[in-house]
Structure formats: structure tokens, C-alpha cells
């Protein structure tokens, strides 16, 4: 049984996120985005040299970009699905304000696998080279000769982030984490990253976790800090706990249409509020979004 790693969001960010880090943020689309950790990163003004999303980033990437903290991004999608394009990602991409390493989902998956397993590079399935993506991203993709057949194959560089922000629904105090819904690529992200900061809805006794040991998504020895924030994914969803807040997301998308609106949003919901105050102000909304499983 490991010692408690439970800390506040502000201590976790201050202690484990170096300025100019290679950061990866878990969750996918409008779900399981570790927003409490991201808001705290913005409050502390930590610059992110490289941001890696899951195959589909959303608020987790767009808010950091809107705060002007992201220098370059490795991604295969940043958007808000049926709600629309990601306003800050789009604006910075169109204005040349962010360096984009254009990727596809297979590379992000296999690249993380390579990073997790110490593979120097990873060959990719034939056919992927027919998209234009490898042409515009020669840092992530290159061609190698297959040593067995001599055939020219596309290959990807390993992805090894310094820090991963991962949201799990529950964990124990040491960080044995259970994702109660879909895992997306969060487990691979944790395996590939040097440090993992876990954001959870609820901390439970280790005995509760070990009742179903195969249900544990991430073992505690990979986790550096555990931050308990109920509602920490808001305005995105936390699988099994609450759905995404479409009204709030639309407010964000409307405001973020221009830079002054982004500033207004950040001032109101990030800079002028603590995470506790944010959660208190949103508690009623999050409660109304709770899954009422029978």
C-alpha cells in the first residue's frame, strides 16, 4: 500500500508541471477532460512548449491555447463535435499563432505505445501514407525500409510526454485509478508519460479498488499526484458521473469567437475564481447533469 499522494490542484501544478513542459491532456471530445488541472495551469501561467491531445482534443486544448500558453500542438483533431469548431485552435492556426504537428489517430495511438515501450520508432500500416498528413509533419513521420521485405513503410516517432493530466472517476489516495466509463487513450498516455497527475471525482479506500484488481486502469506507482475535485471535468462530462454542460460550452464557443471574449471567459471562470469557488458556483448545474442510472 502506497503513501497518500493527495494534494491540491494548485500544489500539483506548481510541483509537477515545469514551465515549458511537454504536456499531454487526457479525455476525448467532450468527455473526461481534466479541466480542473487545466484551469489551474492557466491560473499559474505555466507555458506549455508542446501539447499532445488524445486523438480528439476539445476544451482541454482550446482553453490552454486561448490562454496563450501553447507554443506547439501534436493532434489529430481539436473541435467540439456537433457544437462546432474549436475557436481558439482555429484562430491561432489561421493566424499562424501556434505550430501544428498534424497527425492522425493511428500515429497518436502507436506513437504513445512506442513511447510507453521504449521503441525507437514504430512502423505504421500501409495506406496511411496516402493522406497528406505525413508530408506536412516530418517531425512525427518518416519513411523506413522494412528490414524483412525491403518495402518502404511509413514510420512514426515515439511520444514521451513529460507530464500527463488524466481524469479518473475514482482512485485511492496513492493513485490506483479506475476509469468507470470509456478509457479512450488515457491509459496509454499514463504509460508513456514521465509524470502523471491524476484528477478524480472521489477518493476511495484501497480495499474498494482491490475488490476488482483487473478493473484498475492505472496503477499507483505511475502516479505522482492525486487531486480530488468533484465536477473537475466541467463543462465536459465525467463518464458515469455527469454529462457535458452544453449550455456552458455554447457560452464558451460564443465568447471565444474573438480574443476579447476569450479574455472575458478566462477572467470570469479561471483567473478571478479559485477551483473551489468554480465548483461551488457550478455544483447545481453539475448535479442537474448527473447520470440517473437505474
Amino acid at each position: 500500500m502506497g503513501a497518500s499522494k493527495v494534494v491540491s490542484a494548485s500544489d500539483a501544478i506548481a510541483n509537477f508541471v515545469p514551465d515549458g513542459a511537454f504536456l499531454t491532456v487526457g479525455g476525448m471530445h467532450l468527455h473526461n477532460n481534466p479541466m480542473a488541472l487545466i484551469r489551474e495551469t492557466i491560473r499559474q501561467g505555466k507555458r506549455v512548449k508542446t501539447l499532445l491531445t488524445s486523438p480528439c482534443g476539445a476544451m482541454n486544448a482550446d482553453l490552454l491555447i486561448g490562454a496563450g500558453l501553447v507554443e506547439e500542438i501534436i493532434t489529430s483533431y481539436v473541435g467540439f463535435e456537433h457544437l462546432g469548431l474549436a475557436p481558439n485552435f482555429r484562430r491561432q492556426a489561421e493566424q499562424g499563432g501556434i505550430r501544428i504537428f498534424e497527425c492522425d489517430e493511428p500515429y497518436i495511438t502507436h506513437g504513445l505505445y512506442a513511447g510507453a515501450g521504449g521503441l525507437p520508432f514504430i512502423p505504421l500500416p500501409k495506406g496511411l501514407e496516402y493522406s497528406d498528413i505525413p508530408k506536412v509533419n516530418t517531425r512525427s513521420y518518416t519513411f523506413v525500409d522494412n528490414p524483412f521485405t525491403g518495402e518502404r513503410v511509413l514510420a512514426g516517432a515515439p511520444l514521451m510526454p513529460e507530464v500527463a493530466f488524466i481524469h479518473a472517476q475514482i482512485s485511492d489516495a496513492a493513485g490506483n485509478a479506475v476509469l468507470l466509463g470509456a478509457q479512450f487513450l488515457d491509459r496509454l498516455m499514463a504509460l508513456a508519460s514521465k509524470h502523471v497527475i491524476l484528477q478524480v471525482e472521489r477518493i476511495v479506500p484501497t480495499s474498494e479498488i482491490s475488490e476488482h484488481p483487473m478493473g484498475t486502469t492505472i496503477p499507483a506507482f505511475l502516479v505522482d499526484a492525486v487531486v480530488e475535485v468533484r465536477g473537475g471535468c466541467h463543462p465536459t462530462s465525467s463518464h458515469a458521473f455527469y454529462s457535458y454542460d452544453e449550455e456552458h460550452l455554447r457560452e464558451y464557443l460564443n465568447k471565444a469567437r474573438d480574443e476579447s471574449g476569450v479574455e472575458e471567459y478566462l477572467t470570469q471562470y479561471v483567473h478571478q475564481t479559485t477551483e473551489n469557488a468554480y465548483q461551488q458556483s457550478m455544483a447545481e448545474r453539475i448535479s442537474a447533469l448527473s447520470f440517473q442510472e437505474g
Partner: protein, 259 residues
């Protein structure tokens, strides 16, 4: 979405029934972002003519979700009301293997005459207008049995002669390049829009009008398309949804995503 005046169905419901008709028993389909239309088509096929058809829904990777209810987000928790679910990384492995999935539902901010799709950038990649969201798994169109393309936007900005950025391979630059590439996948099979269905001429590999939806003319389809479409006169009308199909769809869609 307005309900068509001819019968009691919406355009989206018509698109769903057309897509469902392309799905066969024992096949397996995959789909991505914001995929309520293909998910409804898959579930409809299972509940009617293809009970042994299987499908994997978006990033949640639930297998055969019950669509109780149909939801707009492809990573929604409610998609786990399903037979089972698999890890996303396993789905990427099976996509790479290439002989597991028969159908991939695709789309794009641009779709071209050869069925190539673009989710990345209009204009140059360095200076896009607009910058699209990104390609996710679309490059795997090269390794899947057949591709079904759907879009709610049938206009000359979406349907272009050649995509500005190729992020989902169709028939590439046409017959010569397609033959040379020897891709594992069978390429695009059908395109379904709010105006019509289109297939591909087996010789030229270019998109052609297959059927027009009720009340739409082939001329209207051509006007809404940024390249020359082949049309065989007289052009057939898209088969209408049956009462049974509409009943099933309404039962799985209480929020009216398809209405």
C-alpha cells in the same frame, strides 16, 4: 430539421434509411466524430434486415450500442448502454489489420470527385481558411472494405473537384493512381447527402448521381456540386423510408436529433 412534406419523415431520417440499406448481415462497421446518422443507420439495420450486423461507435468504442437514446457525441457515456465495449487502442489495431471492418463511415469539410475527404484545411495547410478540426482516423479509409460518405452540407464549397488537403483517401487521383496504390481497401462505395445519393463510375472512378431524393432534380444536385457530375437519365428517386423504419427510428430518437 424540417419534416419532408411528401411523407412523415425528415431528410436526416431518409439519409439514415438509405445508409441502412447498404449494411449487410455479418458485416462490421466503424464510425467517428458526431456520428448520430450512421449510428442510427447501423442500429436500424440490426433491428430490421441485418440482425447479425455489428458496429463500433466512435471513441467510446462500444460494440452494438442499444441507442437508448441516440446521442450526438461519439464519446458519450450513454453509448456504453451496449453489448460490450473494447479499448480504443484495440480498435486502432483492428483498423490497421485491415480485414476486420467492412464499412467505415466518413465525411469532410471538402469531398472531391474521386471521393477523397478533407477534415484538415481549406486553402493551403500553412495558411488555412478555414482550418478544419483534424483528420482523426480518416487515413484508415485506405484499409477498410468500403467507405460510405455522408454529409449534411451539399454545396459547391463542400463538393469540390479536388480536396485542398487529402486526409481520407478515396480513389486518389483516379484510375491510374488508384491502380498503382494497390490499397487494401475497396474505396468509397456511396455518398449520401440531403439532396441525393451518389455512387462511383467503375471506369472513371468519379462520383455520379445514383438517386435524387423526392422533390429534388438532377439539375439542383449539379448546381450544388462544384464539379461535373455524371447523370444517367431518367434519374431514379431514392426509396422512401417505410412506416416500420420510421417507427423504429422515432423510438430510438426521443430527442429528435434526426428530425
Amino acid at each position: 430539421m424540417s419534416v419532408n412534406q411528401v411523407g412523415e419523415y425528415s431528410v436526416a431520417e431518409l439519409m439514415v434509411t438509405v445508409l441502412a440499406s447498404q449494411l449487410h448481415d455479418d458485416e462490421v462497421a466503424i464510425m467517428g466524430t458526431a456520428s448520430a446518422i450512421p449510428q442510427a443507420a447501423c442500429r436500424l439495420a440490426q433491428l430490421t434486415h441485418a440482425p447479425n450486423f455489428s458496429y463500433i461507435a466512435g471513441g467510446t468504442c462500444s460494440v452494438n450500442p442499444y441507442q437508448q437514446p441516440l446521442v450526438p457525441s461519439a464519446c458519450d457515456y450513454r453509448l456504453l448502454r451496449a453489448e460490450t465495449a473494447v479499448p480504443l487502442s484495440d480498435v486502432v489495431l483492428m483498423e490497421g489489420r485491415g480485414d476486420v471492418f467492412d464499412i467505415f463511415f466518413a465525411g469532410g469539410i471538402q469531398i472531391d470527385a474521386y471521393g477523397n475527404c478533407n477534415l484538415v484545411a481549406v486553402g493551403s495547410w500553412e495558411n488555412p481558411r478555414p482550418r478544419g478540426p483534424g483528420s482523426v482516423g480518416l487515413p484508415f479509409l485506405s484499409r477498410v472494405g468500403r467507405v460510405l460518405i455522408y454529409t449534411m452540407s451539399h454545396n459547391p464549397r463542400t463538393f469540390v473537384e479536388r480536396v485542398d488537403f487529402l486526409s481520407g483517401p478515396g480513389f486518389l487521383d483516379g484510375p491510374a493512381s488508384w491502380e498503382q496504390a494497390k490499397l487494401m481497401g475497396g474505396g468509397p462505395a456511396m455518398v449520401v447527402t440531403p439532396l441525393c445519393t451518389m455512387t462511383f463510375n467503375p471506369d472513371t472512378l468519379r462520383m455520379k448521381v445514383a438517386t435524387v431524393h423526392p422533390g429534388v432534380t438532377a439539375e439542383q444536385v449539379q448546381e450544388a456540386t462544384g464539379f461535373q457530375l455524371e447523370v444517367e437519365e431518367p434519374v431514379a428517386t431514392t426509396p422512401l423510408p417505410t412506416h416500420q423504419q420510421i417507427e423504429i427510428l422515432r423510438a430510438m430518437d426521443p430527442d429528435g436529433l434526426l428530425r
